[in-house]
């Protein structure tokens, strides 16, 4: 299955900006389940400098700088991504590893285990409290398989939490999400990660997109999509498996991954520093389209 994603970010500045440095993490990486066939980046005004490289986690990074006076900045990234057939979930394999055994298994040699262990420690965003740990414990019951426990956590979160935009920002701490029981996808991804890490297990943050289906009989509107976030759990001998707590799903063909990290701060879609004192207005639109 092939998708085309158009992600446009536009800043309007109230005062002219003489110099801006930006880092975009908007180019999808290749994974076991997808391949990014083509990416076109359009930036207006034309940047004076562009550097492309991979970060520590293997995600694609685009740095660009505009070095002339400008009063708006528009960044559009068009990507074509091929999704492969979802591998069959080997439930019987997942199900036979009790979560308590995973910690010890991760200490065994092997690159997979080594790379997974870096996703165990809490970060400042995913710092857990007693409440979060207790919430996690209800899913991580003795003897349960890691897969079951994580899946149960996702289902409970879907039941207990309300999806609500505008209530939280990137800076909202998890304690508040926990208390108010509402938030958006990245809050839920962070909370789930905090829960799993509170059990001493690895979990990573995934940034990406999801295809939304138009109501029957209606044409899908352009730009109604948004960027999305979910999380991934490492199961020894099997690998990473992604869960979407916002939609109560194990990720499917409709999830397109940009990249992953310890939390949001490792891969915000677009960040920058400008030389200006004025304020700015921001517009973002995302469109995910199926090509075949």
């Amino acid at each position: 299955m092939r998708y085309q994603i158009a992600h446009t970010t536009e800043y309007q500045y109230h005062q002219t900006v003489s110099l801006c440095h930006n880092i975009a993490m908007l180019i999808p990486r290749n994974t076991d389940l997808q391949e990014c066939r083509k990416t076109i980046v359009k930036i207006n005004p034309q940047p004076d400098v562009m550097n492309e490289y991979e970060d520590f986690f293997g995600n694609k990074v685009l740095y660009f700088a505009v070095q002339q006076e400008h009063s708006s900045l528009k960044v559009t990234v068009l990507s074509q991504v091929e999704k492969f057939k979802q591998r069959n979930l080997k439930m019987e394999l997942y199900n036979n590893i009790p979560w308590e055994n995973v910690s010890a298994m991760l200490q065994e040699p092997g690159l997979g285990n080594f790379e997974a262990r870096q996703f165990i420690p809490a970060t400042s965003i995913t710092n857990f409290t007693k409440e979060i740990h207790e919430y996690a414990q209800q899913s991580f019951t003795p003897g349960r398989s890691l897969f079951d426990a994580a899946w149960d956590l996702v289902q409970r979160m879907y039941r207990d939490f309300e999806f609500k935009t505008g209530f939280t920002t990137v800076a909202t701490p998890l304690t508040e999400v926990m208390e108010q029981r509402k938030g958006v996808c990245q809050d839920f991804a962070h909370l789930a990660i905090a829960c799993i890490r509170s059990m001493g297990l690895p979990a990573r943050y995934v940034s990406g997109y999801i295809e939304t289906i138009a109501p029957a009989g209606k044409e899908k509107l352009v730009g109604v999509d948004a960027s999305h976030a979910w999380f991934s759990v490492y199961i020894p001998q099997s690998g990473w498996i992604d869960f979407d707590p916002t939609n109560n799903l194990i990720t499917s063909d409709q999830h397109i991954t940009i990249g992953w990290g310890r939390d949001y701060a490792d891969l915000p879609p677009l960040k920058g520093v400008i030389l200006s004192t004025g304020s700015h207005k921001l517009d973002v639109s995302v469109d995910v389209r199926r090509l075949d």
Binding site: F114, R117, Y264, P268, V273, I274
Partner: protein, 841 residues
């Protein structure tokens, strides 16, 4: 002196042996009185040279005088050979570890080094992974804190790789000793420090991108409030590298540029004294105001080199210690020459158990240093409750903690309160990358605790430093007082490149402005206070009215509202001293003299490498006298007025000395421009608040007299006009007289020359804005007529013409600093973060 003390016999025996015996012979030859005199000289020398360090979070901790013990720390030749080879080995080892951590990560993957020690360390900057650096070593500078135990063994206590400090203080200590007590070097061949700095310069040159043999090297500081800012400025002078703050630099086209008055200059190498986390707000700590956005891009593009490289602080990590011997064996095939204090990393279950079981005999450290928070806890001094809490903290995050054995250090003699006493000593050694390995400084910085037996030694906690002497048998590289002094910073000045960073230029400009502001306000306030003091004795109604007018003028002039103005002012006008006192001494009050002195001092310290020793002495005196005046602020009014006299004299001396001490033309121009602009604005403001309002003749007379007095022009006036004060003549003298150095015309004539001397930014025939403004103000003055300005307007309580004239003049000159700032200082615009928070599905 030795015999007077109650030192233990074994310690006395120690002091009577080997090199110490030679040292104390020289010591005794000088005699007790002379030693104490020299100690005084030493303290004065350090103070006058502005040798200071700052203590965070302590309002009085800013610019603390540096403390130096007259008795050095001695290291024998044999001992040094071990230390030197051990230091070089450690530097080599850490360089390999650093390369591995940010490269292949073989040590981590193989489990030789548990990855948790690195990945959980705040100094592990993932953004720096995979970056290839020019030069032989990644680790350019390495520093270790060491101590000697009672059995004579040397142990390493801390490894420092972030931005090691102390080399400048070590050098300053040596120069101070050489100058004040040269006799003590007699008979001891002490090795020299300067070869180290030569190696440092070579090392920095060798890492320049593209094999540039003459790179531009800058020292990056976080600014005057940094703990060791003195040293940053000192090294800048000594090595001839421009001292810069983050906002002096910018990244364009993947290169780093220094913003100077004349434009952008490419920077090749940065000697970093700013923690790496703060260096790039684009990729590292996002709220850092101290860094350079985009710096990492320039590093990735290999267009700039940083020493030590970003990410190197991960090596400052006591968690590494237990694994070093095995790593040394694997990577170097060698045993460690210098042992670390026995340490247990709590991330391993058995080590954790050991630490928990033996906690009350250990020192507990975190793997990563945290700014402003102590990272070491001496658990031997904790109560049962505190121990319990500490254990809980360790158990919650064991991989973040290390337990260390508490060693018994050998005491070293120190001069404390005129007596020789034993003190624990910690000495810091320095190594720098060189073409054939690493070069160690043949000396170091020794610090002793303020109290005997105090285990944790730091400057922040009031330690005292010592010069460190390595006694050598060879003669070639030994210390020679004159040779070393020849390389003192005053002589190093000639290295200094001619570029003036915009930020420095701006600060010099502000030093000029604040100096004049302090001076002008002090003079005016002195005039007012003298009058108030005298008016108290006379009892005429007019005197009372004049007094009030003057007090109100003071409030207007200093902008210390409400002060003597407004509905609440009646009581203050009757009993003005409390308010007058506040306008002088209340540093919290915007516009007060103390407030302006604070701004002046801050600007002065920011560009501290620009002042000569004589200038420092004047500044010190000024600060001390002002502090004294502050303490006696409740005493007699005469004494306060006398304190103002002193302040005024010092400030005049400061301004005078600058002519001699600021050699670089652009710097002087900037400072002078600041002065002239401030003088002009102050004068205009004073005339507006005193002479625009109409009063009866006698009052106007007194006000005119006050203006002349505050500007030191009364004598001038009498000499020139030989008449009573007349408005037109007063205005003539203060505004239009080209020969009166206090007149506005005089200031503007000089200002006109100064602004035209600024580097030209744009071509073409049109005058740049700042020149246009000065020219317009100048022409207005030249075309003005004194009679017209002094003409009273009928039916109106003010001198209308004068008012209009001064208002216009003020407007022109008031906008001048902004225009100059925009054209030359370039940080009118602060940078800020942009974020998208668009993940909301």
């Amino acid at each position: 002196m030795i015999s007077q003390t109650d030192l233990s016999p074994s310690f006395l025996e120690y002091l009577d042996s080997g090199y110490w015996k030679i040292f104390f012979n020289s010591f005794a030859e000088l005699g007790e009185d002379e030693i104490l005199n020299r100690r005084q000289d030493m303290m004065r020398f350090l103070t006058e040279n502005g040798v200071t360090y700052n203590i965070y979070g302590d309002p009085k901790g800013f610019n603390r005088p540096w403390k130096l013990d007259i008795i050095p720390f001695l290291i024998s030749k044999d001992e040094w050979e071990l230390i030197e080879s051990g230091l070089v080995q450690r530097a080599t080892l850490f360089d390999l570890i650093l390369k591995d951590i940010y490269g292949e990560r073989t040590l981590l993957k193989s489990g030789l080094l548990p990855m948790e020690i690195i990945y959980n360390h705040t100094g592990f900057l993932r953004q720096c992974a995979g970056i290839q650096l020019p030069g032989k070593h990644h680790l350019v500078l390495y520093t270790a804190d060491m101590a000697r135990t009672v059995d004579g063994k040397i142990w390493v206590l801390n490894d420092r790789t972030q931005a090691p400090s102390g080399s400048g203080y070590a050098l300053e200590n040596r120069l101070t000793m050489a100058r004040i007590v040269p006799e003590l070097f007699n008979g001891l061949k002490v090795r020299r420090l300067s070869p180290y700095f030569h190696s440092l310069r070579n090392a920095l040159t060798s890492i320049a991108p593209n094999n540039n043999k003459e790179p531009r090297i800058v020292i990056l500081t976080s600014g005057p409030s940094n703990e060791t800012y003195f040293e940053h400025a000192y090294l800048s002078s000594y090595l001839g590298f421009t001292l810069v703050q983050g906002n002096d630099l910018m990244v364009r086209d993947n290169y780093v540029w220094l913003k100077t008055l004349g434009g952008l200059e490419k920077v090749d190498v940065i000697l970093r004294r700013l923690d790496d986390m703060y260096c790039d707000p684009l990729e590292l700590k996002e709220d850092s105001q101290l860094g350079i956005p985009g710096l990492l891009q320039a590093v990735r593009s290999r267009n700039v080199s940083i020493a030590n490289p970003l990410g190197s602080s991960v090596i400052e990590n006591p968690g590494l210690i237990p694994f070093l011997p095995a790593i040394a064996k694997t990577l170097l095939g060698e045993e460690l020459k210098l042992p670390s204090i026995a340490s247990w990393w709590c991330g391993q279950p058995s080590a954790l158990q050991y630490v928990l079981d033996n906690i009350s005999s250990l020192v507990i450290k975190r793997i990563a240093r945290r700014s402003n928070v102590g990272t070491s806890v001496d658990a031997t001094s904790l109560t049962a409750n505190q121990l319990h809490e500490l254990k809980q903290r360790i158990k919650a995050q064991p991989h973040l903690f290390v337990g260390q054995e508490k060693a018994n250090f050998a005491a070293s003699p120190s001069l404390v309160n005129g007596k020789i006493e034993p003190r624990d000593a910690l000495f810091r050694s320095f190594a720098v990358s060189s073409s054939n390995g690493y070069t160690a400084m043949e000396g170091g910085l020794t610090r002793t605790s303020a109290d005997y037996g105090n285990y944790i030694i730091s400057n922040q906690m009031g330690g005292i430093s010592k010069d460190t002497w390595i006694i050598s048998a060879e003669s070639g590289s030994t210390f020679n007082v004159r040779k070393e002094l020849e390389q003192a910073p005053e002589n190093g000045m000639t290295y200094k490149s001619e570029v003036l960073p915009s930020h420095t230029a701006e600060n010099l400009f502000w030093v000029g402005r604040y100096a004049e502001r302090v001076l002008g306000n002090a003079r005016f306030q002195r005039t007012v206070m003298q009058f108030v003091e005298e008016a108290n004795k006379a009892f005429s109604d007019n005197d009372e009215y004049i007094k009030e007018s003057l007090l109100q003028a003071l409030t207007l002039h200093t902008h210390t509202f409400p002060g003597f103005i407004g509905p609440e002012s009646e009581k203050k006008l009757k009993e003005p001293w409390e308010e007058l006192n506040e306008i002088l001494f209340d540093a919290e009050k915007t516009g007060s003299l103390a407030y302006n002195i604070g701004l002046f001092n801050r600007a002065v310290y920011t560009v501290r490498d620009h002042w000569s020793t004589d200038t420092w002495r004047v500044l010190r005196d000024m600060e001390e006298n002002w502090q004294k005046a502050f303490e006696q602020r409740q005493s007699s009014h005469h004494r306060i007025i006398y304190a103002l006299d002193n302040l005024i004299t010092s400030m005049v001396a400061f301004i005078g000395l600058n002519r001699e001490s600021i050699s670089r033309e652009q710097g002087w121009t900037l400072l002078n421009m600041g002065r002239k602009i401030e003088q002009s604005l102050l004068l205009i403001n004073m005339l507006r608040v005193t002479l625009v309002q109409r009063h009866d003749e006698q009052i106007e007379y007194i006000l005119q007299e006050a203006v002349l007095k505050s500007n030191e022009c009364l004598v001038n006036y009498r000499y020139k006009y030989r008449s009573h004060l007349k408005p037109s003549l007063v205005l003539d003298l203060m505004l239009l007289d080209p020969l009166n150095p206090r007149s506005l015309l005089y200031q503007l004539e000089r200002l006109k020359v100064d602004v035209s001397g600024l580097p030209k930014i744009s071509s073409g025939h049109q005058l740049p804005d700042h020149e246009r403004l000065v020219f317009e103000a100048y022409s207005m003055l030249k075309l003005a007529s004194k009679e017209k300005l002094a003409e009273p307007e009928k039916n109106n309580g003010i001198y209308k013409n004068l008012d209009v004239f001064l208002t216009k003049m003020n407007k022109l000159l008031y906008s001048l600093p902004n225009v100059i700032s925009k054209a030359y200082f370039m940080h009118a615009q602060a940078s800020k973060q942009l974020f998208t928070n668009n993940t909301d599905k």
